[in-house]
């Protein structure tokens, strides 16, 4: 997925490439945000409470994109990359704010 995004001109890295493969969620989120990166995940159970805690504390960062497994399943990487690239484009133009989190669905 990260390589697909790179081909679409989006600066993306996997958690492995960022050296965060073994990190706890909180550390991963902190590190990604410190690098100015948005976290993309299917993991609602763990990252939603982390984001809520940070939002409540006013600690906003670049944001989290929660991906819909129903409309953008992990076995359809092409549409997933296309949607993420489209979202990144809109966020880059300031049309969309990801800092409080968004739930990405296929159009």
């Amino acid at each position: 997925m990260a390589s697909g995004l790179k081909r679409a001109g989006i600066d993306a890295v996997t958690a492995i490439d960022a050296g965060l493969a073994g990190s706890d969620d909180d550390a991963l989120l902190a590190a990604a945000w410190a690098l100015g990166r948005v976290v993309v995940t299917y993991n609602t159970a763990d990252f939603a409470p982390l984001l809520a805690a940070r939002n409540a504390a006013g600690a906003l960062g670049p944001g989290i994109v929660f991906v819909s497994a129903k409309t953008l399943p992990p076995d359809r990487v092409g549409p997933l990359v296309k949607s993420l690239a489209g979202l990144a484009g809109r966020a880059g133009k300031g049309e969309m704010d990801l800092s409080c989190g968004v739930f990405l669905e296929k159009e």
Binding site: D46, F66, V102
Partner: protein
């Protein structure tokens, strides 16, 4: 008279419930559904089997609603099941074990109080439990998150549950998965499947669903 295939399916489901409820009082239906999918049993066949088992008194329904589970869980996936009282395995009793440990290890365990457990004893028990799991399932380690400790596939940045869901989404086809995710290795996929088959409850957590209060965008 049930067919041999139906009877075999019923025994299989009862065995899953018995294994799970050996440690827990009841099994969430959503967990049983995930377990069945891992084993290649489709949802409809499972639903029929569960219905028959409940009707004949070999399974009983317990809680009907799981608050906070997420609104997208299908109606027939809610609630829990348990064996009738007479057939339920008793949860194994905890044993007391007194051991002498080096000071350095004690300090290391003490540093985890509040993370791995609330007391030194519970931290030690948790650490031993994870060690035993890592021995039994090479390639698996554990990571902390807001929902507690969870099993991860070493070196991938993925939870076991995530890896298994990706595998299931690929129709249980390792090759197709590895084509889409070339940074993963076959042994990592297999480690995740092996762990999940023994801990199906990890697949019950919300995944790929809309978190409360987070707006949906369609792109």
């Amino acid at each position: 008279m049930p067919s041999a295939a139906t009877a075999s399916r019923e025994s299989q489901v009862l065995e899953w419930v018995r294994n799970y409820t050996g440690m827990n009082l009841h099994i969430p239906v959503a967990t049983l559904v995930e377990y069945a999918r891992l084993k290649g049993v489709d949802d409809k066949a499972l639903a029929r089997t569960v219905q028959d088992l409940v009707r004949s008194g070999r399974l009983r329904r317990t809680h009907q609603v799981h608050p906070g589970r997420g609104e997208d869980v299908r109606e027939d996936n809610t609630g829990s099941l348990a064996l009738p009282e007479s057939g339920r395995s008793r949860a194994p009793a905890a044993d007391q074990l007194n051991v002498r440990i080096p000071h350095t290890l004690r300090h290391a365990l003490a540093a985890e109080v509040g993370h791995l457990g609330d007391t030194l004893g519970s931290v030690a028990a948790r650490a031993l439990q994870e060690w035993a799991s890592m021995q039994a399932f090479p390639g698996i380690d554990f990571r902390s998150g807001p929902a507690g400790r969870r099993a991860c596939v070493t070196g991938t940045g993925l939870d076991v549950a995530e890896m298994c869901r990706i595998w299931l989404h690929h129709g249980r086809d390792e090759r197709a998965l590895l084509r889409d995710y070339p940074h993963l290795e076959r042994r990592q996929v297999r480690a995740a499947i092996a762990y999940a088959e023994n801990h199906p409850e990890i697949l019950a957590a919300p995944w790929g669903t809309q978190p409360p209060g987070i707006p949906a965008v369609r792109v």
